[in-house]
């Protein structure tokens, strides 16, 4: 193959702006080779370089006594006591999933699992946050079916329980769905593996699957907007093989236990290029690669293709030379490729040879260190228009409509396609506030949740950013877990538009404030920009994945109350209906400001719920979020199979009281005898508490109107199949 001539037009085809190409010319003082141009485009695209977001990401709180490793490595690491650590991250695979839903979503799962086990952790839980267009859109059903099947096919085969997540529908995602995959793993706190190479002349080893032409240019594709030709980009999507990934996991963990590994990095976006540069850069070393040694699955692959391939299930490792035989034997056992493809060199140089020729000879540090960084202009999001009057409606009818609506009906259709019990440690399954997974062989457990309310973020990015973190905090607290830390997956439109950049900046400010106030540092994350099709941006969607710790399973709080329990609401209510699920799901309205989050009150309320559990006073708890008190009570009733009766509130319309979405609230259930003591403790903690009703019977009663529990169950549990046209 003859290589094309490198010039500004070719650079533009690689997604490099004219000033970025000029920067390369200045840096090299010559024209780059074709392979070098490919390497620059891979390293300098938005996906790998974070060039638009870096300035703002630096403002996020990332430290705390619980943090072993914050952002910058493959995943964040948090201390969970007893010499153990949880390793976790969330990452997007939006563009590939829109182009090819099954493989796009599957390889998203594969990538995030690799990020976790690269650090020496065995994955123990996965989640995913999915945003699709409106169900009536002709593409939506096939995207939902394909993405869910893809996630299931990968996670189920790999053998990690998929325990939670989110699924939303909104027309803003019609041309650009979001697939955010989360994974968490468990490791010994003193046996975490990092990517920094060390030592000169150390072998650089290629592990795992062979390299093919799939995914060439994937990261660059993921850094551009879609036009009408999105489907034509299918060849840039990689194909996943979870069976190879499972073997790679077992082989890597065996290899790490053998003491052979100096450093390790998975080949994700921009494959061999990104992983090699990362290891050299972090270790202040150069890397020399001999591509003739790279195991290839296709014939006559060029250096350019090998450097940019995003073939899955591959790792790069710097090995202790004396352990080569041990390492090779482990990879032979698992029938995986093992090849020495280069070595570390003392000078700041990235040297790539192929077929006896030098294909790239670049200053290594400049590839990441000299990457462009932008301070994009941004404008503050203007205030949302005030909430127009909300019509009156029978609250029980409104509840039934909400519980069967696309965004609030049961997600069992989705999570029953995911093995959520493999590894036999899933204590709280999907469908609750947060999933709870036991730390194998102990009485400890970890709680996981993924949250964001994009409607809020659109109306008020700062409050929406806060709310995403606050809701995660609340979901963890409602299961009895102490919130530890978060990973953020920031999905936005084109950052070159000041109003989109303004959404991004606002959300970051809100997330930062909430993480600080709730003591949940950001330890890993991912930014996905350019989520636009034909100029239409998605809703700002900063997905927050959060992890909490239960030091004993005795601390776990169920969501299902007992019949005859008193129901109490923790937190303050004003009946906030702006941007609520009620007005959106029932009338397609999105007016009013997002609810504001009082972070101090949020923290106190969460701490109170956990304290009440420690005192043995409550039988169940559930957080109040979309659909407010009414939906929370209905969900608890369905979980328990017992009815509930909620009283109306004075001074508030029934719809505002039952469906208002004020933040910082929980619904708790307790035996009658405990109510006085709960009230006393709440007052002492300066947290509002009020009795709102009782459990029992076989209806859900809201003030004076009611709906049968069986009727509610029917609309709630068949809702998703109905959306998919299966019922």
């Amino acid at each position: 193959m003859t290589e094309p001539a490198v010039n500004q037009s070719l650079a533009a085809d690689h997604g490099l702006k004219p000033d970025e190409y000029q920067r390369i010319l200045n840096l090299l003082e010559r024209t780059p080779t074709f392979t070098e141009l490919g390497i620059f485009s891979a390293m300098w695209n938005e996906h790998c370089s974070y060039k638009s977001s870096k300035k703002w990401l630096r403002t996020l709180p990332t430290k705390g006594p619980q943090v072993i490793c914050g952002p910058g490595e493959n995943a964040g690491v948090i201390d969970i006591g007893d010499g153990q650590a949880v390793v976790f991250k969330m990452e997007s695979h939006n563009h590939p999933s829109y182009i090819e839903p099954h493989q796009g979503a599957a390889t998203g799962v594969g990538g995030i699992l690799r990020d976790v086990f690269t650090m020496g952790a065995r994955p123990i839980a996965a989640m995913n946050a999915l945003s699709f267009g409106e169900i009536e859109h002709p593409k939506t059903r096939s995207l939902v079916a394909g993405v869910v099947e893809g996630i299931g096919s990968y996670g189920n085969c790999f053998g990690v329980p998929t325990v939670g997540g989110e699924v939303r529908f909104h027309p803003a995602y019609n041309g650009n769905c979001l697939v955010n995959a989360f994974a968490a793993g468990l490791a010994d706190a003193d046996k975490i593996f990092y990517s920094a190479a060390s030592g000169v002349g150390m072998p650089v080893v290629y592990l795992g699957a062979k390299t093919g032409r799939d995914g060439v240019g994937g990261a660059t594709m993921a850094s551009a907007e879609f036009g009408e030709d999105a489907e034509e980009k299918r060849p840039t999507v990689q194909v996943g093989d979870p069976f190879t990934e499972k073997r790679l996991l077992e082989a890597c963990l065996e290899l790490m236990a053998s003491g052979a590994v100096i450093s390790i990095q998975d080949m994700g976006a921009a494959g061999l290029t990104c992983s090699a540069v990362e290891m050299g850069d972090k270790g202040n070393l150069g890397i020399e690669l001999d591509l003739d040694a790279v195991p290839c699955r296709e014939q006559a692959m060029s250096a350019y293709e090998m450097m940019l391939s995003e073939s899955q299930e591959r790792m790069l490792m710097v090995l202790k030379p004396e352990k080569e035989a041990v390492a090779r034997a482990i990879f032979d056992k698992w029938d995986l490729d093992f090849a020495i493809v280069g070595h570390t060199i003392p000078e700041d140089r990235f040297l790539v040879k192929h077929d006896g020729e030098i294909k790239a000879d670049l200053p290594l540090k400049a590839l990441s260190g000299e990457a462009p960084e932008y301070d994009r202009p941004w404008v503050e999001t203007s205030a949302a228009r005030p909430l127009a009057p909300v019509p009156e409606m029978d609250p029980a009818e409104a509840l039934a409509a909400l519980m069967g609506s696309p965004n609030l009906c049961s997600r069992a259709w989705v999570w029953q396609q995911y093995d959520h019990m493999v590894m036999a440690d899933t204590v709280v399954r999907p469908g609750s506030d947060a999933a709870v997974v036991r730390v194998h062989g102990t009485q400890k457990a970890l709680a996981f949740t993924a949250d964001v309310t994009p409607r809020y973020c659109k109306a008020n990015p700062v409050e929406g950013g806060k709310q995403a973190v606050a809701e995660a905090f609340r979901n963890l607290s409602a299961t009895g877990a102490r919130p530890l830390a978060v990973t953020d997956n920031l999905n936005f439109g084109n950052p070159e538009k000041p109003e989109i950049m303004g959404q991004f900046v606002g959300c970051i400010k809100g997330i930062g404030a909430a993480c600080e106030a709730l003591d949940m540092p950001v330890v890993s994350g991912n930014v996905s920009l350019y989520n636009e099709t034909n100029g239409e941006a998605i809703l700002p969607t900063p997905s927050i994945g959060a992890v909490g710790l239960l030091t004993s399973l005795d601390e776990a709080i169920p969501m299902a109350p007992c019949a005859g329990d008193a129901l109490l609401m923790i937190g303050h209510s004003e009946g906030h209906l702006g941007q609520s699920a009620l007005i959106w799901e029932l009338w397609g309205r999105s007016d009013g400001d997002a609810p504001h989050v009082d972070l101090r009150a949020e923290r106190k309320a969460g701490e109170l719920v956990r304290a009440l559990k420690a005192e043995g006073l409550i039988s169940a708890a559930h957080d109040l979020s979309d659909g407010g008190l009414g939906v929370a009570a209905a969900e608890m009733a369905l979980a328990a199979g017992t009815g509930v009766a909620l009283d109306a509130a004075e001074g508030m319309t029934p719809l505002a009281w039952f469906f208002g979405e004020d933040q910082g609230r929980y619904l708790i259930a307790a035996p009658e005898a405990a109510v006085d003591e709960i009230t006393r403790l709440a007052i002492a903690a300066q947290v509002p508490v009020r009795r709102v009703g009782m459990t029992g019977g076989d209806t859900v009663r809201l003030g004076t109107s009611e709906v049968t529990l069986s009727g509610l169950r029917e609309v709630h549990e068949t809702g998703f199949a109905r959306l998919m046209g299966e019922a």
């Binding site: 099947e149 299931g152 096919s153 189920n156 085969c157 790999f158 053998g159 093989d241 979870p242 069976f243 190879t244 499972k246 073997r247 077992e250 056992k333 698992w334 029938d335 069992a412 999570w415 029953q416 396609q417 995911y418 093995d419 959520h420 019990m421 493999v422 590894m423 036999a424 440690d425 899933t426 204590v427 399954r429 036991r438 399973l553």
Partner: protein
């Protein structure tokens, strides 16, 4: 009870099964690699776990059934050894010719992971004797290819010989169509070999054998094995 769990590349319920066997027996199960040619000496029970051996490529269980260790497992079974196959393990036992019938893609064409109710159809086996009066149990399924297919003659023979170990039923114990998660013939969830020493089943009793995981209905299976082995000894 001395038990072994066979580990294939792609097995992923191997640890879960070993935990359940170990808890019942009071001694750990040995883990045996698929490339080994022989089983450890003195075994009472060989267990083949769930998962995706060889990625479910070709046909679920087909490649694993031809692994070196499976010759030893077949010999063990032919000598009257107790062999348990769960989920992918059931698929492997069928592919190895140790159990009759076939397992096909679920009728819904979707992977299904949820709790199901099973009726314990016979107590006459080393896997089911301890269920006693507990004739309807709740355990999970998690599979894509779990529709048990048998022709009329085979189904009739299994029935006549009391070799159907479990059926999918509703909470009241009725084998309704709605209770069948995958389209299995006759709601069959597990079958015994003609000497009643080999059981293959799609549901996962090992996942509900610990009260912390929300149920213990799977535990009597492992108790049955321990008791059966103790009686012989």
């Amino acid at each position: 009870m001395k038990s072994a769990v066979i580990v294939f590349p792609g097995s992923n319920c191997d640890r879960d099964l070993a935990v359940a066997l170990g808890a019942a027996a009071g001694r750990p199960a040995s883990m045996v690699w698929h490339k080994d040619a022989a089983l450890p000496p003195g075994l009472d029970v060989v267990a083949i776990p769930g998962g995706f051996s060889f990625g479910d490529y070709l046909r679920c269980g087909a490649i694993a059934a031809r692994s070196p260790i499976m010759r030893a497992v077949v010999d063990f079974a032919h000598r009257g050894g107790i062999v348990l196959g769960i989920c992918n393990g059931f698929q492997i036992l069928i592919e190895a010719g140790l159990l009759p019938g076939a397992l096909m893609r679920n009728q819904t064409l979707k992977f299904v992971c949820r709790d199901v109710h099973l009726s314990v159809e016979t107590l006459q086996s080393p896997f089911t004797s301890a269920f006693g009066n507990q004739r309807v149990i709740r355990v999970p399924v998690a599979h894509h290819d779990g529709a048990y297919i048998a022709d009329y003659a085979l189904a009739a023979r299994l029935e006549a010989e009391d070799r159907i170990a479990f059926r999918y039923v509703d909470a009241d114990g009725d084998a309704t169509e709605a209770a069948n998660p995958n389209g299995s013939v006759g709601n069959i969830a597990g079958v015994l070999s003609d000497n009643r020493r080999i059981l293959g089943m799609m549901p996962h009793p090992e996942r509900l054998a610990d009260p912390q995981l929300g149920g213990t209905d799977g535990a009597p299976m492992f108790r049955s094995l321990v008791e059966a082995v103790a009686e012989v000894a």
